[in-house]
C-alpha cells in the first residue's frame, strides 16, 4: 500500500492502463466455402483502468474471456474493436513495427511454466532472449543482467546453464517471471500464474510477485479463477461473466459485500478450510451451465442462470451503475437506485 502511494507521487495520478469498450470476436467459419457464419464473442465491450503500481484482479470461470482480455491488451491478438492505452500509447490498432518498440514495457507471465519455456534452451538463454531481441548488450553485460534477474526471482546462478525440465514447477515459474522482467516492464499481465502449481508452492510465487511489485513499482493485471488468492494480491477486482465485466470494485468492498448476483454466487461457492463455518455455509448453487459465447442470451448474459432474474433482464442488456468509490455493477437490480455511467473509474485505492 505504501508503495502505491509512493508511485502515485512520482507519476501523475492517471491510469497506466486504460481500456475502453474492448471487443475480441473470433470468427466462426463453416460450410464448403468456409463462409463467416458468426462470432465467438470472447470479450464483448469491456472498459477499465489500472493505476500505476496497482494490481487489478480479473476473475471469472473458464471460458468467460478473462485470458482473452489479457492477451488482447498485450496485442497478442488483433482486437476487433475498442482502444487499449498503455502508458499513454494507443496500441490496439498500431502497426507491427511501432508495436514492437512498445513491447518492452508490457510483458506477460503465463499459466503453464512447462509449456511457456522452450525445452531446448538453457535458463540463461530463456531469460536472455528478450535482451537479445530488444537491447544491444555485450556478452558480459548480458550475463550480468541475467544473473541480476535470477537474483531477483531467487534462482541460484548455478542453474543458468540448466534446462527447464530440470526444475520443479515453482522454479520454472520463477524463470518465467525473470524473463518477463528482463526489459524493465511497467505493466505485467499475470495469466493464472499459480494455477498449475501446488498449494505450498503457490504462496512462494505470490509472495515473490508482491515483493517485485514493491521493488520495481510494477503494475499487474492478475488473471485468476482462485478467488481467495485474488483477494490476497489484488487492490481492485473485476469479475467477468461471458465476455463482460459484471462488477468491479475495491477488494474490500467486493469481498465484503458483493452486489452483482453472479459475484454473490461465485463468492458463496468458494469452500473454506473451516469445518464449522462450512457446515453452516449455504452456497448459492447456480443452475445450469455457462451459455456459449457464440450465442449469448438476449438481454443480460447472466439471465439464464440468475437467481434474481426479472423480465427486463431477458430483454435489455443492463447498463453500468456507479456506486462511487470506484465500484460499478452491471445489473438491472440497481436501475432504480443508481445512475448509469459510461466512464469507468480508476478506483479509490490510488487516492
Amino acid at each position: 500500500m505504501v508503495d502505491i502511494e509512493h508511485g502515485a507521487e512520482v507519476e501523475p495520478a492517471r491510469p497506466l492502463v486504460k481500456i475502453r469498450d474492448l471487443k475480441m470476436y473470433f470468427p466462426i467459419h463453416s460450410g464448403l466455402f468456409r463462409t463467416h457464419v458468426g462470432d465467438v464473442k470472447a470479450v464483448d465491450g469491456i472498459s477499465f483502468d489500472i493505476m500505476p503500481g496497482e494490481t487489478l484482479g480479473l476473475v471469472g470461470e473458464s471460458g468467460c474471456g478473462k485470458s482473452t482480455v489479457g492477451r488482447s491488451i498485450l496485442r497478442l491478438y488483433d482486437v476487433t474493436a475498442g482502444t487499449v492505452e498503455i502508458n499513454g500509447f494507443e496500441i490496439a490498432h498500431v502497426d507491427r513495427d511501432s508495436l514492437r518498440s512498445k513491447r518492452p514495457m508490457m510483458q506477460m507471465i503465463f499459466q503453464d511454466p512447462q509449456a511457456s519455456l522452450n525445452p531446448r534452451m538453457t535458463v540463461a538463454n530463456i531469460i536472455g532472449e528478450p535482451l537479445d531481441e530488444h537491447m544491444k548488450l555485450s556478452p558480459e553485460e548480458r550475463l550480468a543482467r541475467i544473473y541480476e534477474l535470477m537474483d531477483w526471482v531467487g534462482l541460484n546462478h548455478v542453474f543458468a546453464k540448466r534446462y527447464p525440465h530440470e526444475f520443479s514447477g515453482g522454479q520454472r515459474q520463477r524463470i518465467g517471471v525473470a524473463r518477463a522482467l528482463a526489459l524493465n516492464p511497467k505493466f505485467i499481465v499475470c495469466d493464472e500464474p499459480i494455477a498449475a502449481l501446488d498449494v505450498s508452492i503457490q504462496a512462494q510465487v505470490v509472495n515473490l510477485l508482491e515483493n517485485l511489485q514493491k521493488r520495481l513499482n510494477l503494475t499487474y493485471l492478475f488473471i485468476s479463477h482462485d478467488l481467495s488468492m485474488v483477494r490476497h494480491i489484488a487492490d481492485r477486482v473485476a469479475v467477468m461473466y461471458l465476455g463482460r465485466i459484471v462488477e468491479i470494485a475495491s477488494r474490500e468492498k467486493l469481498f465484503a459485500e458483493p452486489l452483482h448476483p453472479y459475484t454473490q454466487a461465485l463468492l458463496s461457492a468458494v469452500p473454506e478450510p473451516d469445518p464449522e463455518s462450512e457446515r453452516n455455509r449455504k452456497p448459492i448453487v447456480l443452475q445450469g451451465d455457462v451459455p456459449s459465447p457464440a450465442n449469448p442470451p438476449k438481454g443480460c448474459n447472466f439471465s439464464t442462470r440468475c437467481p434474481k432474474v426479472m423480465d427486463i433482464c431477458r430483454q435489455i442488456e443492463p447498463g453500468i451503475y456507479d456506486f462511487g468509490d470506484g465500484r460499478q455493477v452491471a445489473c438491472h437490480l440497481y436501475s432504480e437506485s443508481m445512475t448509469m455511467t459510461g466512464e469507468p473509474t480508476a478506483g479509490e485505492t490510488t487516492n
Binding site: 498449494v199 503457490q202 478467488l227 461465485l266 473454506e272
Partner: protein, 339 residues
Amino acid sequence: MPDTAMPILDVQGLRTVFRTRGGEVHAVNSVDFHLHPGELLGVVGESGSGKSVTMMSLLRLLPSPPAEMRDGKVMFDGQDLLKISPEQLRKVRGSKIGFIFQDPMTSLNPVYTIGFQLAEPLRAHLGMSKPQARARSIELLQLVGIPDPERRLKDYPHQFSGGMRQRVMIAIALACDPQVLIADEPTTALDVTIQAQIIELVKELRRKLGMAIIWITHDLGVIAGIADRVMVMYAGQVVEEGPVNEIFKDPQHPYTQALLKTVPAVRGPRAERLQVIEGQPPIMYEAPVACSFRNRCQYAFAKCAMENPALVPVSAPGHRAACFLLDKVAMPEPEAANG
C-alpha cells in the same frame, strides 16, 4: 464414527514402487488406513504425495511395470484385494468399489454413447438385459440431475459440458450400488460454481444411498465441508489423520499446520503476507529412513534426520500424527512445540 465398528476397507502397510530409468521411486510407503461404512474420508496432499497412487494400488489399477506393489494388505469384504485372482478382482472393480477420476473428458470413451457406457457395468456386473440396463441408466442420470435423461443417453461425451460429464462419471460409478466410492479429485477440473453443484450432489447422494466415500483432493476447503475424517499425505506416507474438526482446529503435524496457513481466506480477516512452506516436496528415490518433511520443517531437530516417525495417537480419539514433536521424551526443548 466409533473406531470399534468394523471397517469396510482396511489397508495395512501398503507399499508401491515405480521402477523408472532413473531408479526406483517409492510412491507409497507403508500406508495404513481404514474406512468405515457410510463414512467420508478425505485424503489431502500435494501432487506427488502418493494419494492417487495409493487408491489406484488398492484396486491394482496401476500398470505393472513400472508399478510394483511391494507389500501390504487391502482387506475388503473378507478378502485381500492384493491377493485375489484377476477374475475375482474384476467383480469388485466398478461393482462393489466405484471410481471417479479427475478428468471426465479423458476417462469417458469418446466413441461410445453415454447410454452404452452406463449400461456396460450394469450388463457386465449385474447381468441385466438391455431394456433393464436402459431403464436403470435413465434412473441413474435422473439421480445425478441430468435433465432429459432419455434423450441424453444417445449423446456422446463431447456433447456434455464439464460439469455434466462429471455427473455422468458419478452415475457410472454408482451404477452397481457400490459400497465404496473412490473419488480422485472429482472437482479439480471444474469451475467453482460447478464444483458447488457437484459437492451438493454428492452430499445428497450420500444421504440417499449411504455408501462410504474416499475423496482425494488438494483443496482443503472442499474437504472441510464434506469429510468426516481426514488423512494428510506427504511423500507417500500418512503424516496425520483424524476427525475433520480436529485436523482443522488442532492440527498436530507441522506440515498440516503449514498447509492450513498457506491458503488465503476468501472470507474473514485477510493476511497481509502469505505464510510460505519453503522448498519443495522430495522425490522418494529410496524408502524413507528419516522424516520426509524435515528439510522444510521449521521445528526439525537432530532426531528427525535419523529416524522416520511413526503415527502416534494424540489427545483426541482417532487423531494420530507422525512427528517426533509429539514424542515428549525425544523433544529437545519444550518451547519448540508451541509456535
